[in-house]
């Protein structure tokens, strides 16, 4: 509790200077989008299994320790596990004959329910891993630039791309700030006699409720400060702004993208071909 940042890594940027960090941000964004797409398209365990080596390579090349990612996702994983348990017990779909393993009132466990929950779990994990790796390996500035460039053409349709991207990126990057705020407050409470490092999960969760209002108010204050800071530095959207560092994708970047595309298509289509 007192060092929450070790347990929630969402939104953090960890610079290891790896090739993944150096990839063109647009390529990274497109690859992430592809992986997200894959998480919806793939419809079987074999497909996810085929995709696994890609993720392993990505993790290894990024030089971000896997253990760090896992521990930093503890809260998320626990949450996911609870949801999946509910999925299994309350499986709404049609249960095939002989698939029912256990039943008690409205609760049931069936092979269909288990399969559905497992696939759902894999989808969410893939989604989470892909976006987390993107955040861990991409700085705030790169992320903003990349998104602005990618969605730039939409500006012709009068979509306020710059503003939307900025709001999106800020909200993601506020997560670690909120977390350090929670850390700071829980330290203050603990020092003043309301311990956040003791008691069972329910006591701790109840105590967390106390932090809601101060964190929320702090968020508003911070947002206010940020707007002033942007005003002071004459921020008026990114339109017409030139950049010192121009993004340019090299051959390697394109090859990586091509590889990801091929891999995703393979993981999506191969199982059907293999099984038919």
């Amino acid at each position: 509790m007192l060092e929450l940042q070790r347990n929630v890594i969402f939104g953090q940027f960890v610079d290891t200077g790896s090739p993944v960090h150096r990839l063109d941000v647009r390529i990274k964004l497109m690859s992430t989008a592809l992986l997200i797409l894959a998480s919806f398209l793939i419809d079987g365990f074999l497909g996810f299994l085929l995709l696994l080596p890609l993720l392993v390579v990505l993790q290894a090349v990024s030089r971000i320790p896997f253990g760090f990612v896992v521990r930093g996702s503890g809260i998320f994983l626990a949450f996911l596990a609870v949801i999946l348990v509910f999925q299994v017990f309350f499986y709404p779909g049609e249960v095939s004959r002989g698939g029912l393993l256990w039943e008690w009132g409205f609760l049931s466990i069936s092979t269909d329910g288990l399969r559905f929950a497992a696939l759902l779990g894999l989808r969410v994990l893939l989604l989470y891993h892909a976006t987390t790796m993107l955040m861990l390996t991409t700085s705030l500035v790169d992320l903003t630039n990349g998104l602005e460039l990618l969605f730039g053409p939409l500006q012709r349709l009068r979509v306020p791309v710059n503003e939307l991207v900025l709001v999106g990126v800020i909200s993601v990057k506020f997560v670690p700030i909120f977390i350090s705020e929670v850390e700071r407050l829980s330290r203050a409470y603990t020092a003043r006699g309301v311990p956040f490092d003791e008691g069972g999960p329910i006591t701790r969760a109840r105590r967390l409720g106390r932090l809601l209002v101060p964190v929320f108010v702090g968020g508003f204050r911070r947002a206010d400060l940020l707007t002033t800071a942007m005003d002071v530095r004459c921020y008026r959207g990114g339109r017409g702004r030139t950049k010192l560092r121009q993004l340019s994708a090299t051959m390697t970047d394109w090859i990586v993208l091509l590889l990801v595309v091929a891999w995703v298509i393979a993981a999506w289509q191969l199982p059907a071909l293999l099984l038919s």
Partner: protein, 295 residues
């Protein structure tokens, strides 16, 4: 006498304390690399060092606000990280005043905030009220006037006083102050300084004052511990530490104005005492010196 003092268990003892923030992650930062010292009851110790020297980490460790390993921090001879140790009791004994009052004040109204600690500790309402009044008056805020004031409408100096009152209301025998003077104007500093001096005389407190400024601590404390890059580099009575001006400068710590002036003057008057800490002391010494010359 000395033996008796030596036999007495120190109130606080750090034994080779090491600490890394975000340990086990790629963003780990080593803040403390083996700090050992002990503080006896009633002692007033200044912990000085430039930013990033590990002062705040030591402060957090004293009240067990970090993940601690066993065998590193002892309170009244007991290992505060040992399983089953009553941390709640420890935090009632160690009153920590954080660097920024915003990080400490938890309620919106002054009176409520000062009452926070005693209430959490289960002090009866009547006694809590008395403590709130007594603590607010002790920090120089009038109870009837400030009791119902909103914290966010107070000035920086007043907020700091409220934070301090909140800690005093816990009646903790050990007071740990993290950069108590930072961000205050000269008048606010002077007032707070007078307040600490008063507290020191009126209450039987053990005090640990952290600061990057030698001027703030040298007058409040009898002993100075200098931290540099997470290690203790000097530890001794104020005058002994101040006498080693070159080493202090090496660690990025500037001498207080009057002390630096006295050092320069000693080049002209070599018999000037090296223990002068304030302008007044320097002035008196110089007058005596000049008077002696004239006679």
């Amino acid at each position: 006498m000395n033996e008796e003092v030596a036999r007495e268990t120190p109130l606080v003892e750090l034994r080779d304390l090491r600490y890394s923030y975000l340990e086990g992650t790629p963003r780990a930062v080593e803040a403390i690399r083996g700090v050992s010292f002990s503080v006896r009851r009633g002692e007033r110790v200044g912990l000085i060092g430039p930013t990033q020297s590990g002062k705040s980490t030591v402060v957090y460790a004293l009240a067990h606000l970090l993940r601690l390993k066993e065998g590193q921090v002892f309170h009244e001879g007991e290992d505060i990280a040992s399983p089953g140790y009553d941390r709640a009791a420890l935090r009632r004994e160690v009153g920590v005043v954080f660097q920024r009052p915003d990080f400490q004040v938890l309620e919106d109204v002054v009176g409520k905030d000062v009452a926070f600690g005693p209430t959490a500790a289960g002090v009866p309402a009547r006694e809590t009220r008395e403590r709130v009044e007594e603590s607010l008056e002790a920090v120089g805020l009038s109870y009837p006037e400030f009791r119902l004031r909103y914290v966010h409408a107070l000035s920086g100096g007043q907020k700091r006083r409220v934070a301090l009152a909140g800690v005093l209301a816990m009646h903790a025998p050990l007071l740990v102050l993290d950069e108590p003077m930072a961000g205050l104007d000269p008048r606010g500093r002077q007032e707070l300084f007078e307040l600490f001096k008063r507290l020191r005389e009126q209450r039987d407190l053990t005090m640990i004052v952290c600061s990057s400024s030698l001027a703030d601590t040298s007058l409040l404390c009898e002993r100075l511990i200098v931290l540099h890059e997470g290690r203790v580099v000097m530890d001794g009575p104020v005058n002994e530490v101040i006498a080693e001006a070159e080493r202090l400068q090496e660690f990025g710590i500037a001498l207080p104005g009057p002390v630096a002036l006295a050092r320069e003057m000693r080049k002209v008057f070599p018999d000037l005492s090296p223990d002068l800490l304030t302008e007044t002391e320097l002035e008196e010494a110089l007058l005596a010196r000049l008077g002696a010359n004239r006679a």
